[in-house]
Symmetry: C2
């Protein structure tokens, strides 16, 4: 098998030949067809992730065919086309993951490879309407979007939702799910072209977040949103607190702009706002998402496809946030 | 009638003789037996409240007897002993109050008087098991505690709840409700004596919040709380984010220590925490609270009782946060 390995922080991944994998009890070996990048992979290469262990095969998203099943795994999985759930050992509380929770691709070897060893709990049948590229692009971003919008944000049909920083995988999945659920979705971006693309996907409109006073424009044009899905945080955060509807909710699944300064607490309590954190999602979230995309035939947005050998070029593209949708690798050996 | 009037900011209230009140349609005149102080009254005297209109009779909490009913009000209210709901015009959304919402005692004349004119919607029959002093002490603090704990905080039997700054009316009502609901309640205070009193009321224990590392002591002794009810905010807030259980919730109904600096956003999303604002409560919250205190025979904690004429002494006591429970005025003419 081949794998893209991070040997040392701040260095490119190296493509290495490795011994073939065998499936211990409760596990399966997957012949990967495709994998997808997440910002997490880039953070790890930069040392910006807790408890990094090297060397490691990066990659949290993958799809492929079950090659070998270990003892205790239903043998009918063998030969099946599957999509891998990125999280393992969520635990038994829907509210939050257990301390044992981990994500594929650090510390456990991930999907930037021709083969991967995974526990049975990660297996889901690949829906036929998704291509291999679309399948690999779904799990981590889709799950994060799903939990943020519905489990944590409680989005309902007819409500207005604002999704900030459209273009990234989670924001686009959130846009697709919100539109499919019958919500009025609006977006922000630093890039006018991305806003145009979002409108083609069903967004009601969008705002350039670098424009002063875009929040006022949104309030006038769209009304105050019931729900905001944000991964920026930082100094823009109080603007969202001003903007959100009284009784509304801001869900954060990231903070690419760092910590917010000086939360306006009076607004928090007088407007009866909820600031909700969200990360990834539970197995129940994943199953609900899979049913939803099946019902609504939601196809993941793929930005670009690279062969596994060009993984460093792919990481570079993500680093500069040029993408609109997911960056995918083809893993065929 | 007599009333304690705020003529000018930063001056004592003056006791004045006024013309008797008449009830226009939809309204009633109440002969007040008792009133209670809230921090809001003090903020208003200091100009620290939005849209202050003077002169005004302060006071949001009151209990008394219906003296006169206006047209359109069921005449059977006449002569009844009532407790007044402090909020008017909540609106039709449970999530947050409408822009028209107001609280008795600014801009509308309040309860620091022998008589008051109120719309019918404020009337609730006084439960027999509450004295006049206990009745006046209930509405604003009880309602704020109720909404914070249950409507916003979703407290369930068996959960662990931490109530910060025990001694104030809302914190004490929250403690009483939490204990009555079968939750494990813990408290913080700056005063060891207040913690001892809280334990006598059913708290499992308490911590001096000025002690460095009290959060660690709490985590060891009580486990991480599912819910924290806070009205301080400020620099102590990130300690609460560290302390609360993954998937847990911090409800704020005030920010006496000002705005928190630098919310740790990574902890917010990785721990899947909810930061929830809460203010006062809806008519439905009030009805639910009244049923609950009836069922559990919860009697409001009264700290001290002053005649109306000594309202300025009473305000002074609240200013220094010396009280344990509500400060009450007797209003008999």
């Amino acid at each position: 098998m081949k794998a893209a390995v991070l040997e040392k922080l701040h260095t490119p991944l190296s493509i290495q030949d490795r011994h073939d994998l065998n499936a211990p009890p409760g596990h399966v070996v997957i012949q990967l067809k495709t994998a997808a990048l997440n910002r997490r992979d880039y953070w790890i290469t930069q040392g910006l992730y807790p408890k990094i262990k090297l060397p490691v095969v990066l990659g949290s998203d993958g799809a492929g065919v079950v090659l070998e099943t270990g003892d205790g795994v239903d043998a009918s999985w063998k030969g099946k086309e599957v999509i891998l759930q990125s999280g393992i050992n969520w635990g038994d509380q829907e509210e939050a993951q257990a301390p044992e929770f981990e994500v594929l691709g650090m510390p456990r070897d991930g999907t930037f490879a021709t083969h991967i060893l995974v526990p049975q709990e990660t297996l889901h049948e690949k829906p036929d309407f998704l291509s291999w590229e679309e399948a690999a692009a779904l799990p981590l971003a889709g799950l994060t979007a799903w939990r943020s919008l519905f489990t944590q944000g409680g989005l309902k049909t007819g409500q207005t939702v604002l999704i900030t920083g459209v273009g990234g995988g989670v924001a686009l999945a959130a846009l697709q799910f919100a539109v499919a659920a019958g919500a009025k979705a609006w977006v922000t971006s630093s890039n006018d072209n991305k806003i145009k693309q979002a409108i083609q996907m069903g967004a009601r409109g969008g705002f350039l977040y670098k424009d002063d006073g875009w929040e006022t424009s949104m309030a006038k044009e769209a009304g105050a949103p019931d729900l905001i899905i944000d991964s920026a945080g930082g100094k823009t955060y109080n603007g969202l607190i001003d903007l959100v509807k009284p009784g509304g909710c801001i869900v954060n699944y990231g903070s690419t702009l760092g910590n917010p300064q000086q939360i306006n607490m009076f607004k928090l309590f007088w407007k009866q706002i909820r600031l909700q954190g969200s990360s990834l999602g539970s197995p129940a979230d994943f199953r609900n998402m899979m049913s939803f995309i099946q019902e609504h035939q939601v196809k993941t947005i793929v930005d670009a496809v690279y062969p596994l050998e060009e993984v460093n070029t792919a990481l570079e593209r993500m680093k500069h946030s040029e993408q609109f949708g997911k960056i995918v690798l083809t893993c065929a050996s």
